[in-house]
Symmetry: C2
Subunit: 129 residues, 2 copies
Amino acid sequence: MEIAFEKSGGLVPAIIQDARSDEVLMLGFMNAEALTETRRTREAVFFSRSRNRLWKKGETSGHVLRVLEIRVDCDADALLLRVVPLGPGVCHKGYRSCFFRQIEDNGSVRTVEERRFDPDKVYAPGAER
Amino acid sequence: MEIAFEKSGGLVPAIIQDARSDEVLMLGFMNAEALTETRRTREAVFFSRSRNRLWKKGETSGHVLRVLEIRVDCDADALLLRVVPLGPGVCHKGYRSCFFRQIEDNGSVRTVEERRFDPDKVYAPGAER
């Protein structure tokens, strides 16, 4: 299977969906190496654009994503990973999903999920989140 | 609400999720104008990287995405749209979801969904899909 990494400068978006609840938890980017590592370890590894390196989800927090299934879209330029998330939430701000805010009609945002954990207790001071 | 369009060259990924089944249907990209049009019309409008223009989903097929809710992630650089899709499927290849293929352990892909419609009957010959 050839993934169209070159189409977006070497990176394709990877949607992370909870395999049990079908909730969309986060979106990351993968390069070819991140996808290979994800398939080899069956735990999600991304390429961090801000850190410019591979980044295993949970490497600091322990909130690893166990990958049950990898889907690829019709144009082979986006991935969908169905996962079992370890820990109370995937978001470094303490929520189950990174998509915890809704854009309202007037353009403001409203938090529509409950916080599940205190990030300051999960990440050491100064640690990468 | 400021979306971090500049972080990815003006475009952010927008995940399309069926609001009733929670199935992930497709991923598109939006620039600021596409998001504005989506919010104004309550139907999903993307920026097509291949056509280099705004592209309303369903403009050819009639398979419009009615937008019920727009979520934004913690870094404000990805969107999640919960939609009601009109028509039998969103994929231009005839499937309900663009993520109709699974990557197997040996690297091959396997189609894991049923085809819902015949694209040749929905799109005129030569029409953009």
